[in-house]
Amino acid sequence: MIRDITLGQYYPGNSVIHKLDPRVKILAALLYIVALFVVDNFSGFIVAIVLLEAVIIISRVPRKYIWRGLKPVLIIIAFTLIVNIFMVRGEVLWQFGVLHITREGLRTAAFVGIRLVLLIIGSSMLTLTTRPIGLTDGIEALLSPFKKIGLPAHELAMMMTIALRFIPTLLEETDKIIKAQQARGADFESGNILRRAKALIPILVPLFISAFRIAQDLAMAMEARCYGGDVKRTRMNAMVFARRDLIASIIFCAFLALIVLQRVLL
């Protein structure tokens, strides 16, 4: 079911990870992703895995949630693995006709696989432990230095808030429209690409109309609740940089330093 998609979903909790300043978490996630691309040996990955594992344990987010977030991208990961295993040239270990597996292929495949999995779990730990508002407030705060050069940081953050709120609603709407058109005999599964693309019109038009209706209603509702941009807004959960944030920052900086050093030295 569409409802099961956990991408960008929040898992309510009270752990230290949940309580961290969203700004720190966003930067930490970025650092982590950068580090994953710096790593070029297995011991580096072990450090990255240990750190992520520690975050998962401290956050107390059930593993089945993390697993569910990974499921939709498994096919992509599998595809990348296969491409790498068979395409990379080098010392041949096994051959069957045109197919061959090389030592380098296996190594690259393993690297890419681990990197992708860590990347996805790492970024979903950010969204699982940070409420959507925290996420957008954090991004807004991090972008605010660029307001001077005309970047609409608040508006971008508000757009993200609304997008996160309405993606599930629009997915449900899509589900309903598809069923309603199927009941009128629509067929989305057969025919060539052109036919199939044409078959999407009866879904897309009602969906766009729905989205516009939502936008109109929502704008009215926001205005009624005194929304007037960023003029005098306060926040219920003001972002505070506490001691735990300092510690987390140090840990993640140390992690990146370790990974860089390791790459240079080994």
């Binding site: 409420r131 959507p132 609603t169 926001m222 219920m236």
Partner: protein, 283 residues
């Protein structure tokens, strides 16, 4: 002085024709009425009767084309008054989905107070008490799309309450709900009213209008009837001519009277009718 004063209100929607020239279509054709502090007013009417347009004129979402709307003495058409007016008169809309801004329940309830620039600790207090008030305290951290229509509507009410308004305008809040959701929303509106909140409740369900202490009937952009539910619903034929109908108890009472059973005038609810019939039988 009345809390809300509407004087000769006219409202035109401006559309453009194919050539791009503006055409005005008149949704409200001159209405005047007052709403007293602490009252419960129901506005009923068909689609296109102007009732929704009227609602949006009560908190400055729409501004009068002609005439005047004053909230607690503040003229809505004066630009400096707009934030004050919207803080005093909050609104709950028809579609439960399309008025919730945040992906977490309590963050949504905080949206209004945040816009008003209120201190974080005070926002926290208001959000908690507003959610408890609509019995949604256990759903604080839930995602709105996982809730039922009635529950979403309760969140929207909490969002309005958290702004600590003096009046809430409900614009057909029950039209898209099932009977359970409708009972919940009406129950909360009555509860808020009993605690002193001024309530304006727009609906097309007659049994909901029967709960009000003042009923306004709109048709074709004009007020056709006004009074207590008893007064309004006793004019059954007029209501039927506006295709509005009356609650079953009122309908049954008038059928019985026509057949010569002695039922007193002014029956509104099932309980009143049952009492009247049993008393008539006892005689």
């Amino acid at each position: 002085m009345s809390f809300i004063r509407v004087e000769n209100l006219v409202y035109d929607y401006i559309k453009t024709d194919e050539g791009g020239a503006p055409i005005a279509s008149r949704a409200i054709k001159g209405v005047s009425f007052n709403i007293e502090r602490g009252s419960f007013t129901a506005i009923i009417g068909q689609n296109g009767s102007g009732k929704s347009t009227l609602a949006k004129n009560l908190n400055g979402l729409l501004l009068p084309t002609e005439g005047k709307v004053c909230i607690d003495g503040l003229d809505t058409s004066v630009p400096e008054n707009v934030w004050n007016v919207r803080q005093k008169v909050a609104m709950v809309f028809q579609n439960p989905d399309n008025q919730i801004v945040s992906a977490i329940v309590e963050d949504d309830v905080a949206f209004g107070p945040e816009n008003l620039g209120i201190d974080p600790a005070e926002i926290r207090r208001r959000v908690d008490s507003a959610l408890d008030g609509v019995e949604m305290g256990d759903y604080k951290e839930k995602a709105p799309h996982m809730l039922s229509g009635g529950q979403k509507q309760r969140i929207a009410i909490a969002g309005a309450v958290a702004m600590e308004p003096e009046c809430i305008v409900f614009d057909e809040p029950t039209a898209m709900l099932d009977p359970k959701g409708r009972r919940e929303v009406l129950g909360i509106a009555r509860d808020l009213n009993s605690k002193g909140m001024t309530v304006v409740f727009i609906t097309h369900f007659m049994e909901e209008a029967a709960c009000a202490d003042h009923v306004i009937v709109m048709d074709g952009g004009l007020i056709k009837m006004e009074g207590t539910p008893r007064e309004v619903f006793s004019r059954e034929e007029e209501l039927v001519s506006l295709s509005l109908g009356v609650p079953a108890a009122v309908q049954l009472a008038s059928r019985l009277r026509k057949r010569g059973v002695e039922i007193p005038e002014g029956i509104l609810t099932d309980e009143e009718l049952v009492r009247a019939i049993t008393e008539a039988k006892a005689e």
